[in-house]
């Protein structure tokens, strides 16, 4: 039997086309180029960073004693600003996502989503300009008020910045910038809630909020966490809005209303890179490498959270 089936199988096998293998090769090359590009990013950044790790104080043009004393305040500033932005953005984003998925009339819900996506289309340099000239003057009086009434809470203690260009302003601008992505992701997840769960809750007499609390939110918890983490990744890497709005200094400071504010890695690179040369360029590239590692960890965590839930759509 085996002797007779073997030639039969070979007879019905489709003919091999040259085009097929060429096309497969091209597609594979496309995929592998991505691999090469990322490997190149990692290698170039590491190679250019190596001289910076052992830099001597005399060679640094910023008055710091070593690379590490320079980078630690920057890391603090980066995470601090991004976390503040996240604290502001997440409640709003979840509210907007719920509004679009469960509250707004069906017919206009898509349009409302597109309006929020418009925020994502505004370039960061425009956000920066708006932050300087419109938003900072707008919030400054509130900061004075905040400091006089809640000054006993250490982060709000004075003296208040007269320009309003503080880390809190930056955090609000960043929050506006990351709201669209968190909204879009959590909206998708809320819409995936099984319809039967929602209807069962309503049939038991739950109000709309109780239905959301017992059916929608538990279903979307992992998705919400990962959406927030992806938003955090965006905020960590945001450059120009921070560089323009903040009056920066390389310090560790938990005060959000004062004139002296911790700057972020990305903003620091943007501000200092054009005037840097020699070893100081390597120092800036090394801080960029640190930023890359931080965002990588945050994004990987976000994806791990989605992956564990299973069935999560790759976003």
């Amino acid at each position: 039997m085996t002797a007779s089936t073997a030639p039969l199988r070979s007879r019905v096998r489709a003919p091999r086309h040259v085009g097929d293998s060429a096309f497969f090769g091209a597609a594979l090359t496309g995929g592998l180029l991505i691999l090469v590009a990322l490997a190149a990013v990692a290698i170039f950044l590491v190679v250019q960073s190596l001289p910076a790790f052992g830099v001597k104080a005399s060679e640094l043009n910023n008055g710091f004693s070593s690379f590490w004393t320079y980078v630690v305040p920057l890391v603090f500033g980066t995470i601090w600003a991004a976390l503040l932005a996240l604290i502001i953005a997440v409640p709003f984003s979840l509210g907007i996502a719920l509004f679009i998925s469960h509250y707004a009339p069906r017919r206009i819900a898509r349009g409302l989503g597109a309006i929020i996506d418009l925020l994502a289309a505004v370039p960061s340099v425009v956000f920066g300009a708006w932050g300087i000239f419109v938003f900072s003057p707008f919030v400054q009086p509130f900061y004075s008020f905040l400091s006089t009434t809640l000054g006993w809470f250490p982060p709000f203690s004075g003296p208040v910045s007269p320009t309003g260009r503080t880390v809190l302003t930056v955090a609000v601008v960043l929050a506006v910038m990351i709201t669209p992505i968190i909204t879009a992701l959590s909206r998708e997840i809320f819409l995936q809630t099984p319809r039967l769960n929602e209807e069962a809750a309503l049939a038991l007499g739950a109000t709309r909020w109780e239905m959301i609390r017992i059916a929608v939110l538990p279903f979307g918890r992992a998705g919400i966490v990962s959406a927030a983490m992806l938003g955090l990744g965006r905020a960590l890497g945001e450059t120009l809005a921070v560089a323009m709005v903040l009056s920066p200094s390389v310090v560790i400071s938990p005060f959000v209303l004062r004139s002296e504010n911790p700057t972020t890695i990305a903003a620091n690179i943007a501000l200092n890179f054009p005037e840097s040369f020699g070893i100081n360029v390597n120092v800036l590239i090394a801080t960029g490498l640190v930023l890359f590692v931080i965002t990588f960890v945050v994004n990987a965590t976000a994806r791990a959270v989605v992956g564990r839930r299973g069935g999560g759509k790759g976003i």
Partner: protein
């Protein structure tokens, strides 16, 4: 029959009238609007603070709705109404920065939205006048080059992942695309600079093509993601029908799968362009800035629109207002380009989408 007790006030007792939330919203806005008008008349604010009036009006509304509902309907419904009000407020508050930003950019940008702006560069201009044509040309060239680099790579990678992708290589590529999505734009700029510094041996290297490489690094993952989604939407029946007719696999992909997904892919590419065209940080690092026109991607510094806005704002000359005006017009042009790309992309998606039977 005697067991049915008449409910005083009928079936709607214990409920707020249907349109009361909207009515209360109007009332709250009127109250805070009047309050801010008093502030204006009392001289406490220089101009009428419409944003503040709306913001605090919404806050007042949330409180009023909760209290009214708690009194009439009880705690459960009050909480439901509170959340409804909060959710609507969140949406309304999110619109405020968008509206404020658009009004600012349009009103300040129109001052220099003239012919000179689109025909003159900043060469030898230190005062009023001049324009941003060198920046517009630079942005278009650099973005176009970035698209030329990233669209073939992204599309081929997407085809590989959807049509061929199995096993460790496909998993690896998917993972790396995820990693790439998270690369901060400034890191992409640093990479492009490091690459060209090494290739050219010039420690102060600046040229437009470096910006294109940096942007394509940001653009490739977006193109891969969107093309992948679109290719996955092509029904398997179409592929199977082509195979059944004896069409080889690559022809099936080129002649059947790609045309079906084309509208979606074009939309994705345009949205990807819209995403990267506003990037400032990488271009600031590797394309640099200049006041002169430069058509050559491969030599010398090249101005781009976002960097133009940035330098005009941060390094104003003696006539500060002229520099700011040019910056705002640049921002307006940039937003118009991005909006145009978004609108055209949506039109393509709407009208050229294949008619799949669903």
């Amino acid at each position: 029959m005697a067991s049915t007790t008449a409910v005083p006030g009928g079936i709607h007792a214990g409920r707020l009238p249907r349109y009361s939330p909207i009515g209360l919203l109007g009332l709250s806005l009127v109250v805070t609007g009047g309050l801010f008008l008093i502030f204006l008349l009392a001289g406490m604010t220089a101009a009428y603070n419409a944003t503040g009036a709306i913001f605090f009006g919404l806050l007042l509304w949330v409180v009023v709705v909760y209290v009214a509902s708690f009194v009439v309907e009880g705690s459960r419904r009050a909480k439901d109404r509170l959340v409804t009000a909060l959710v609507c407020t969140a949406f309304g508050v999110a619109l405020l920065p968008l509206i404020s930003l658009l009004i600012t950019v349009v009103s300040r940008g129109l001052a220099r939205f003239d012919v000179a702006y689109f025909s003159e560069s900043m060469r030898n201009v230190t005062d009023a006048g001049g324009g941003g044509v060198h920046a517009i040309v630079g942005t278009l060239e650099i973005t176009l080059a970035a698209a030329v680099i990233s669209v073939p790579i992204g599309l081929l990678a997407a085809i590989y992942l959807v049509e061929y992708g199995r096993g460790p290589i496909a998993r690896g590529v998917t993972f790396l695309v995820d990693v790439m999505t998270g690369i901060p734009s400034i890191v992409a700029g640093l990479f492009a600079f490091a690459l060209f510094e090494l290739v050219s041996g010039n420690p102060g290297y600046r040229a437009g093509i470096g910006g294109s490489i940096a942007l394509s690094l940001l653009m490739i993952p977006i193109v891969v993601r969107s093309s992948e989604e679109m290719l996955k939407l092509v029904p398997n029946e179409l592929r199977e029908a082509a195979y059944a007719l004896g069409v080889p696999r690559w022809l099936t992909i080129v002649k059947v799968v790609l045309p079906t997904a084309l509208a979606g892919i074009v939309t994705g590419v345009m949205l990807a362009i819209a995403r990267v065209i506003g990037e400032t940080a990488p271009l600031l690092l590797v394309a640099g800035f200049t006041d002169s026109m430069n058509y050559n991607l491969f030599d010398q510094r090249m101005m781009t629109l976002p960097v133009f806005v940035y330098t005009q704002l941060t390094q104003p000359g003696t006539n500060v207002q002229a520099f700011f005006d040019r910056a705002w017009t640049g921002a307006l042009v940039l937003i118009l380009i991005v909006l145009l790309l978004n609108v055209v992309a949506r039109i393509v998606a709407r009208f050229f989408a294949p008619k799949l039977s669903r």
